[in-house]
Symmetry: none
Subunit: 419 residues, 2 copies
């Protein structure tokens, strides 16, 4: 339950509920219902009483600020059948916090009130703010746990105070720890087929295949008492998956494709340049996000205007006239041109029609040619992307990086630095 009128007014999007729900789901706790209520004592108490009829407990966030806390705490105390009293250790913690912050004036009434809690509650200390959280218990053993709404205070209190308390009381399940392998260049059905025997054999960890735009993830989910125990379960499964999937795996967990590309290009001592038209600098921009990109990415030419394809990239005018700027021939010439001019091992080129104008019967909206030049070779792909101008451009960028990864992953065509 989230408490706060600003949520009911639509001024705030409630992200706390999904944060708490995800943590509970990881521990096998079923969430039946979520509520958001305003700073209104009567409605709050009614919702709490109703929820306690249906569930073993209620977790609330918000409503503990210095101006409204009495209201929330009164409603909670009343719903579990107790009263409020000053909690001396919390008062001393608040005083210590203010002293540490260099405040010398005596504690104000507002802050003093934050130490008033339901009688006999379990206090959830708040090292990141003044208001402590707490768990108030009803005579029948059902509970209401209240935590602050500020995510920075809520998150550590949830993980370090409330979940351990719930685990102690209800014997929560082991948590689920995950490791995600990211792949490109392998269709989902093909990936499924390669790992299907594992699917059937495994109980813990389990694996799941999740398809995204141009990327398929394989998620390994281990139930264990802690991260180290989970890692022991995950390691052999990851090894087997890597054997079955091979070089299609570009990274794990938070690693993005651009991170993996910069890592591998750095390892192999390869350099890269870009020649962009439809993507307008977006491929370069994506690569340059990666710290250390300067080791492999030298630069690029954005030849948005067709005349620049000739003047800056050396694409012959006859080629442009014969095939048009959006063609396999021009993409290839752009890739060759930028590689030669910038003296890199590899280059990526893009040309296409992002819309809303520029399409024709033979060249529909979303038509994009991507080219990668290396050694004496150029690989060209023709793709027609659905969607808006933004979609076409975004997908072109991802597809270009995918193409580069697949080239680097192929053992037989691995580009090498010139000797």
């Amino acid at each position: 339950m989230t408490i706060g009128t600003e949520i009911l007014l639509g001024h705030l999007v409630d992200t706390n509920s999904s944060e708490v729900a995800r943590a509970l789901a990881d521990h096998g706790v079923d969430v039946y219902q979520m509520h958001s209520v305003g700073d209104n004592a009567a409605r709050l108490e009614a919702v709490l009483r109703g929820a306690l009829e249906r569930a073993d407990g209620v977790i609330t966030t918000g409503g503990l600020g210095p101006t409204v806390d009495d209201l929330t705490k009164d409603a909670v105390a009343s719903a579990v059948g107790t009263t409020l009293e000053l909690h001396e250790p919390s008062l001393r913690a608040i005083e210590a916090r203010f002293a540490a912050l260099g405040r010398t004036t005596p504690l104000g009434e507002n802050n003093r009130r934050q130490a008033i809690l339901p009688r006999a509650c379990v206090v959830l200390e708040n090292p990141n703010g003044t208001a402590p959280g707490f768990v108030a218990l009803r005579a029948d053993g059902k509970f209401v746990a209240c935590m602050p709404g500020v995510p920075r205070e809520l998150r550590p209190m949830l993980k370090e105070r409330l979940l351990p308390w719930l685990a102690g009381r209800f014997g929560l399940q082991d948590a689920i720890y995950t490791r995600t392998l990211h792949t490109v260049g392998i269709p989902e059905s093909d990936l499924d087929a390669r790992i299907e025997p594992l699917f059937r054999r495994l109980e813990n960890p389990k694996i799941a295949v999740l398809a995204h735009d141009f990327r398929v993830d394989v998620k390994i989910m281990a139930k264990a008492s802690d991260r180290a125990a989970a890692d022991d379960l995950i390691a052999p499964v990851e090894a087997e998956l890597r054997e079955r999937i091979g070089r299609g795996i570009f990274g794990v967990d938070d690693e993005r494709l651009e991170d993996a590309l910069v890592r591998v290009l750095t390892q192999r001592g390869l350099t890269l340049a870009t020649a962009e038209s439809v993507t307008g600098g977006g491929i370069s921009d994506t690569l340059v996000r990666v710290p250390g990109a300067s080791k492999v990415f030298r630069g690029g030419i954005i030849a948005y205007d067709d005349s620049l394809k000739t003047s800056l990239l050396g694409v012959e005018e006859t080629l442009l006239r014969a095939h048009g700027a959006v063609s396999a021939e021009v993409a290839e010439a752009m890739a060759r041109g930028v590689r030669a001019r910038l003296g890199t091992n590899l280059s990526i080129a893009s040309t296409g029609i992002a819309g809303p104008s520029g399409a024709s019967a033979e060249k529909p909206l979303g038509l994009v040619f991507l080219a990668i030049a290396h050694d004496d070779e150029v690989e060209v792909r023709r793709i027609t992307f659905p969607g808006s101008r933004d979609d076409v451009r975004r997908r072109s960028i991802i597809a270009a990086l995918n193409l580069l990864w697949r080239l680097l992953a192929k053992e037989e065509t691995r580009p090498v630095p010139p000797t």
Copy 2:
């Protein structure tokens, strides 16, 4: 009420509730409570019945997908005391939609079921998807309104179908209509001072000043029965604000700075090129997002590697050695170089230290030089941005576009196309 198990699992953050709540608050409708429930018919119906005891109506989003829609619609029909039946016009709308998409196979059972609705409901047409929304009425006049959970389908249905229906039935209060003027280059305190007399005078519309990164918005909020009446109230206030604020205003409502730049450059027949180092293509990429950017943006050179600043932009090596790549002198030379090579009226250049490495005592992390060349002039700005690599790069891009806007806004230095 949002319907969907993935919300209870914490896999999705519910943004629909705040969207609906905001629209209702604008019309003076009080939202007492929000719920999220899973795809579970019994619990759904119980929550609906409970909510209908406390409120005049319930608005739901989600749970209308082809696989689970029966469940939601059954629960709603039962809660208001009716049954389901095929709604022929909705079936024909779904068939027409598939025909327009070029599907020739007969409608599947899943899609056919989307046209089965509570008997005698008010249908909310869905021009953006297959599942229609609806309002089911109970005998006592209380209602349950159901809309799809996909924001792209929900948003127009809410604004164009449900709110007018609610207004007709309940005589909603005047709505609040807004118009937002975006400004750059004027500090918030200065803007406040310029418009302060208006603040005090105005009752309806009201105005508010909202500061963002590198942008200050002035929001005009009018209470009126419809958009046209609101526009009549807003127009004279907007005119007075424009007089007081002047050319710092770059756009209104959804217009982004890049949209405004492309619009003004197009109007004046000016062309633009970029020479990017620290921003790595991000300035170009931002401009190219705008449909029609090709009229003004010719292209750019990403000289990430210092040697390219010389070979592609003509920055003299002595300059690089004397001042370093991150210097006012090199930024100026980059801007001049790209303008000359690409033959544009204007150019923007960026060079800086985004981190995590590359900083020194004289040149701290976040130090960026931006330059704009036009005619025989170059304006250079030195800025030190706080934050991460991403922050520095993102802020550099916005600051560069700001600088260009401020240049275009100055009457006395307005660049003109060469005669």
